[in-house]
């Protein structure tokens, strides 16, 4: 028994289940699925200790397409369920897949608390700025003016910035990527996986049916270089087709501005260097929402501290060491008891 057979290397395909994928043709979710398969293969993540837990929505069908363990739960509650799973078995690698409605509408409270507690979960939010599964109502990340069946004249309420929300909740890891960016996204997933604690990843995802092109002004190949800045720890925040644009602190103000290197006396030295451990910088980068400033892609903040599950188990071990369990019968007889004889 126990003969060690050399384990065959897992390929991305080995992470795909045998079930037919049922998203609409052209949906960004396909691309994300592919990135996840690739990232897991890169990590050689064991199938049997990897778990995908999701809520409800198009995005939340994700676990059915994975050859790992999976739990498709109820709308908005995946972070809470995953918290219980991770506490019960800390050896599991737990991924949570949520839509924007799932994570920030019905489940906003659970997302907040999973992040605040810093449970070691990889929280992936597929942001298509729409309710896909219920046929296209606007969502909490939809831009003002979004026309949808429930907002025929356009939505009038402000969207939530998912990354700022996560940072506000105390996130120690936040990253952003784009569904179709098959180079960048798997790297973000691997970084999220490497971070012990709650890792929040916003993935801009195109819903081709109900909100096609919602992010095209940022993600389309021809505009992306000028509308995105890819942030990397220790590297300058330069972007643009010719690599001449940069982000710097506006002199005399607590805000960022876009400058062009070589113009108006701006040199490369003026450009900010990304420090992923700097929360103040993370907040400024997260606030760049595609107006005058580019949208930040990459690991915006990563500054690990002990995760909740580790702290909980540590405390349990301490209690057990200090006051070990006594036999259960003795426990019931501890304290004031009396004996009745016949």
């Amino acid at each position: 028994m126990n003969v060690q057979t050399p384990v065959a290397k897992l390929t991305p395909n080995d992470y795909a289940s045998d079930q037919d994928v049922r998203w609409c043709p052209g949906c960004g979710d396909y691309a994300i699925l592919k990135s996840v398969h690739k990232a897991l293969a890169d990590l050689q993540a064991p199938l049997d200790t990897t778990v995908f837990i999701s809520g409800i929505g198009c995005a939340a069908r994700f676990p059915y397409y994975m050859a790992t363990y999976g739990f498709h739960t109820i709308h908005g509650r995946a972070p809470a369920i995953a918290t219980g799973t991770k506490l019960a078995n800390p050896d599991l690698d737990v991924w949570v897949v949520m839509g924007d409605g799932d994570a920030l509408s019905i489940g906003g409270n659970h997302t907040l608390h999973a992040i605040r507690r810093n449970v070691d979960l990889n929280l992936l939010m597929f942001n298509n700025a729409i309710y896909g599964l219920t046929k296209g109502q606007y969502s909490p990340t939809s831009k003002v003016g979004t026309r949808s069946p429930s907002t025929p004249q356009g939505s009038v309420d402000q969207p939530v910035n998912a990354i700022l929300f996560a940072l506000g909740a105390g996130a120690r890891f936040v990253a952003r990527s784009v569904d179709t960016n098959q180079k960048h996204l798997p790297e973000m997933l691997k970084r999220a996986h490497a971070h012990k604690g709650a890792s929040f990843v916003e993935i801009l995802q195109n819903c081709i049916v109900y909100n096609d092109g919602a992010f095209s002004d940022v993600t389309e190949r021809d505009v992306a270089p000028d509308r995105q800045v890819v942030v990397e720890h220790g590297k300058k925040l330069v972007f643009g087709k010719d690599g001449k644009k940069g982000v710097r602190m506006k002199p005399g103000a607590l805000e960022l501005e876009v400058v062009t290197i070589g113009e108006n006396g701006v040199t490369e030295a003026d450009i900010l260097v990304h420090d992923e451990k700097n929360r103040a910088m993370a907040l400024l980068l997260a606030g760049m929402d595609g107006g005058a400033l580019p949208v930040a892609m990459g690991v915006i903040y990563c500054n690990p501290v002990e995760s909740y599950d580790v702290a909980v188990h540590k405390q349990m071990r301490e209690v057990i060491e200090k006051t070990p369990a006594i036999e259960f019968n003795k426990l019931l007889r501890r304290g004031n008891t009396w004996t009745v004889n016949t």
Partner: protein
Amino acid sequence: MATKLASEPSERPARRTVESVVIRFAGDSGDGMQITGTQFTQSTALMGNDLATFPDFPAEIRAPVGTTYGVSAFQINFASYDIMTPGDAPDVLVAMNPAALKVHLKDVRKGGTLILNTGAFNDRNFQKAGYKANPLEDGSLGGFRVLPIDVSKLTLNAVEKTGLSQKDALRCKNFWALGLMCWMYGRELQPTVEWINKRFEKRPELAAANLAALKAGHAYGETAELSGFESVEVPKARSSPGIYRAVTGTEAVAWGLVCGAHKAGLKLFFGSYPITPASSLLHTLANLKQYGVTTFQAEDEIAAVCSSIGASYAGQIGVTSSSGPGVALKTEAIGLAFATELPLIIVNSQRGGPSTGLPTKTEQSDLYQAVFGRNADTPVPVIASSTPGDCFYVGVEAVRLATKYMTPVILLTDGYLANAAEPWLIPNVDDIEPFPVSFDIDPEGFHPFRRDETTLGRNWATPGMPGLMHRIGGIEKDYNSGHISYESNNHHHMTKVRAAKVNGIANDIPLQKVASGTERGKLAVVGWGSTFGAINQAVARSRARGLDVSHIQIRHIWPLPRNLGALLEGYDKIIVPEMNNGQLVTLLRAQYLVPAEGINQISGLPFKVADLEAEISARLEK
């Protein structure tokens, strides 16, 4: 250092003996009446009396001092025989202020004793309590034996030497009152002395003051000329032999759940969100980490139940608890556990409703919620405990059913059971048959919804197990493969299978027994939950008077015991007393088409034995 009381041999003549006494301590919520009551209970338990208690506190933590809505009370009934209720009418009321007298006087037995702290009987307090004149002087206390004592002043005198401020010193007056009552009923002070020393370990000055007050109250009884008042004795109860302790329903549920988890070979995960009166279960379990318990205070009830489901998914026994409003929030998630066939236990400590209702009062009004309160065809087993000690066995049983049948189980207690204490014959847990869970580990032909042929419970495979990777979820699954399926015949079949699984539990629970009386007869009184004691005594007294009445107490509310219908048919009349507007009665009528009739009391208080006795008589004399 722990102070020990020298036992002082009494020179007084042998004390008068009485068989049972009901005492109610009442005062401001800041007066420490719950502590007084609990300590008196401990001493009484150790003296070998049978007892039952009823703590009754206001919803406000510290309502304005001296007002009627700030009155907190603790009732204890103790006796030399087997008693089952905290007693209908107090023999003695200890009232620490006029408001306490005002609220509780109406309950005191005619000719009963009133011990009144006259130190708080002043115009301001009369006004706050709504008295126009001093009740000691306006003749309204005629017919009672009144013992006015300035407890406030006597307490101040007693603790003078400890140098406490007047405010702190006055706080000791509950122990003075306790000392006096311990004298009056021959209770030993030692358990209270130990408790005070432990409680105030870090504040020796407070320990000294409270001890001084306790002893002074006791000495007052011994030495003062209390004309007409004497120390009486309540002999030991003749209970079954064994080791006993006082236990509240909360402690017993906690131990039962942990014991059940051990019997199943599982760790226990408890996710909860605070709510009265359920929070104490979270507090109790948080101190049992050594016994394989993880407690998680979630952000809300939804997260509480969901985290427990997540833990069950990972192979522990997930438990969550709340009261009605919180259980309402858990509803959707209970459906998920039902659909994915994961074990889960939901403990509902029922309280007065609807909505916030009477949050600190007891009620049994969540039976419909437990049995029917979910969308779709979602039957779940429901069990109810009937006494504080019974909560232990019901806790064990909940784990057994949840794991054997892979289903959520609802365990109903209530505010009364949660807080009330009774002597408990401590079981030997080795006598409880283990029911170890065997996880699915066999990849051969595996799918997550393979079932045990007899129980119909699905096999339990957990993440981390090599070769058994699978996906589960709330979407309907194919009976044969476990894959998602929208096929109509399959859904029909799966709905029937899930129902058959839960109904099948009826074959795995004891047949319904008659708690007292006969299996046929003129009248059956059918109860469930914490009404057990009151019904049992009412039936016993009625039978002693020659009435043909029997008592049936239902523990398994769903599925009902399989002989219950036939059993009920053996009686001419059936009455169902409930602390709600008629829920079990509807269930019984619907299930068995029997002419059951409800007796409903929705006052937030337990039934009185005498009231039920009158109802029984009325039915049999009609």
